[in-house]
């Protein structure tokens, strides 16, 4: 991370507009990570076509990053309302458990109809879970972190209850398609995630929905005074988050053709929050960037891949993540900016002050 400031100055010469773009930092971090990988593995960027499928490290990052992207997508909207959804990991586990449980007991495990029923079942239950979260937050006014904590605690138990504490293995070609299949040479999971991100971007940015969500998060009382019904919006974002998590759960369980109530989606809520924060969506709500979230999710996934390919114990990724969280949060913190930038202003006046970048960020919102 210490090499980052030097890079930004080099890029800053291209144009102030680009330098102030909120996606600049995540994009630079991702680029740095990818280039770092290239230094260790010279064929890191090579993508081959084998058996009509795309293969390569970059494709792997996209494919394994798809579930995380989806979870982070739902999380972005929740965080934009100044909330948080800790229950996504449990929802991932429940969705996978339900779908695999249904397929394994079905008469025709390999048929498309069974797969569709399983998916519908998982999504339906996720809808109920999301509604429960939404009701606690908007109906009862419980703090989001606490409301979703309940499902986070109980959800893993429920997932294990569904699987009976076993790892449920399924053999179903249509189900395998969701997370491990290929369509038009691309991994289906990547296409699905891209479609969902594009759909969400379209709905939130081409209608007033995104702005309403941001206003509820930015200033709840002011948005109430202008007549926005926060209750429905809040419930909506939690339902959306649960649905995204359920699709991610289907992908994860389909990719490995099994459901593990204990470990599926473990810590994914933390990765998702991390992805959202790295992508430039502030935890204080009121602003969100779907593009940033996608970049953030890819950064996290690349980080994990890097650690694996370097041969360091994979668990030490947690240490890297910890530093990333802290650095990103410090950079986002107005107090930190004020303190650091005030010191810097004596040497380079009027370059990157908080007051100067804030209107620009509003302007170039993705």
């Amino acid at each position: 991370m210490t090499t980052q400031p030097a890079k930004s100055e080099a890029v800053g010469g291209i144009g102030r507009r680009l330098a102030g773009h909120r996606l600049l930092w995540p994009a630079l971090i991702l680029l740095a990570l990818l280039l770092g990988n290239l230094a260790f593995h010279h064929d890191f960027f090579s993508v081959r076509v084998r058996d009509g499928h795309l293969y390569g490290s970059l494709i792997d990052i996209l494919q394994f990053g798809a579930p995380l992207t989806l979870v982070a997508l739902g999380m972005t909207l929740v965080i934009a309302t100044r909330g948080i959804d800790l229950s996504v990991g449990s929802t991932v586990a429940i969705a996978g458990a339900l779908a695999c449980g249904h397929i394994s007991t079905a008469a025709h495990p390999g048929s498309v109809a069974t797969m569709l029923t399983a998916v519908a079942l998982a999504l339906g239950v996720a809808l109920v879970l999301g509604l429960a979260n939404g009701f606690l937050v908007s109906g009862l006014g419980v703090q989001p972190i606490v409301a979703t904590l309940i499902l986070m605690v109980a959800g893993r138990g429920v997932a294990q209850l569904i699987t009976g504490g076993q790892i449920v293995t399924v053999t179903s070609a249509p189900y395998k398609m969701i997370g491990g299949g290929y369509w038009l040479t691309f991994p289906f999971a990547v296409l699905l995630a891209t479609a969902l991100v594009a759909f969400t971007g379209f709905v939130t940015r081409r209608s007033a929905l995104g702005m309403l969500i941001e206003s509820v998060g930015g200033n709840p009382s002011a948005s109430r005074l202008v007549g926005i019904r926060a209750g429905g919006l809040l419930a909506l974002v939690y339902v959306f988050s649960a649905l995204c998590a359920a699709v991610a759960g289907l992908m994860i369980s389909s990719n490995v053709s099994s459901a593990d109530g204990n470990n599926a989606g473990l810590w994914i809520e933390l990765d998702a929050i991390l992805a959202v924060v790295v992508g430039g969506t502030a935890l204080t709500g009121g602003r969100f960037s779907l593009g940033g979230t996608v970049l953030g999710a890819l950064i996290i996934q690349t980080l994990s891949t890097t650690v694996y390919s370097l041969g360091v114990p994979p668990e030490t990724t947690l240490v890297f993540k910890a530093f990333v969280v802290i650095v990103v949060c410090l950079v986002q913190s107005p107090v930190f900016r004020a303190k650091v930038l005030r010191r810097r202003r004596t040497t380079t006046p009027r370059s990157h002050t908080t007051a100067g970048t804030a209107p620009q960020q509003q302007e170039v919102r993705a």
Binding site: L140, L149, I150, G157, L270, E315, T316, T317, F323, V335
Partner: protein
Amino acid sequence: MSTGTASAAAGLTRPFATVSPRTRTRIPLIVTAVLLLVMFGVGSVRYEGFLSAQVVLNLLIDNGFLLVVAVGATFVILTGGIDLSVGSMVALSTTLTAWLVESHGWPLAAVIPLVLLVGAASGTLMGWIIHTFEIQPFIVTLAGMFLARGLCYTISTESITISDPTTAGIAQTRLYGPGGLFVSIPVVIALAVLVTAFVVLHHTRFGRNVYALGGNESSARLMGLPVGSTKIAVYAVSGLCSALGGVLLTFYMLSGYALHAMGMELDAIAATVIGGTLLTGGSGFVLGTALGVLVLGMIQTVVNFQGTLSSWWTRIVIGALLLVFIVLQRLMSGRRPAAD
């Protein structure tokens, strides 16, 4: 008690509004105590060998470390903050203790102060970041959680079993009381921590500051209370308590492992909430937290005694209880806008 009349107007919309605030804050505590007694009563009727004082003492033996951790969490939650790093700090403490004692042959008497120091220092650091840069406590402690868990793995990716005679000796010592009842040394330490926390919270200036900070931070600042140092101090206390909890867990498990205490932060928060501490801060009792820990332990015991129930029922029941108590909290505190 006389302040109870002020809220009588909204009696219809708030079911507990006619009760005086002082009593109202104690309702969860009473519910928890009744719940504990009912569970013990039902357990005694249904299962053979349940009705004994040793079962109660075993609750303490099996949950002493959780009690210490939950006491630390209570301090933080009372100020309206949250500490998600406690579980990882416990794991780090077990790993560090086991590593230093086993692989480096350090004496236990030197390791324990060092581990406690590490816990307190990391808590202080997190508190300092939270206060100085005004970052939400949950994201800072989340980073702490990652960091501590990651450090465990950098120390050792495998479980380190402790064969050091001193540690094993302390772990296996049974302190016998009347009638052949016994407790372990960690239980005594945990109870000492509980009593200390009670005295600190209810009978010292620092304790009053903690409640004032949780009640209303700006008011506390305007009153001239040391908001910053109090905030940093509660995270330091939480770090210290989780380190101590980790040491106790090391005695209990006789091993250090990065996967110890998975999800303990949730258990600690659940115990605190079930014990009647408001998550918005400013109201609660540390003795209630002890009751909360006992309830969690009792659920585990009942599930064990039942035999046919699988272990995941514990999680489901804890989640359901958490739900009930949080809804209860909302009904009691009326409709305050959800402060984040």
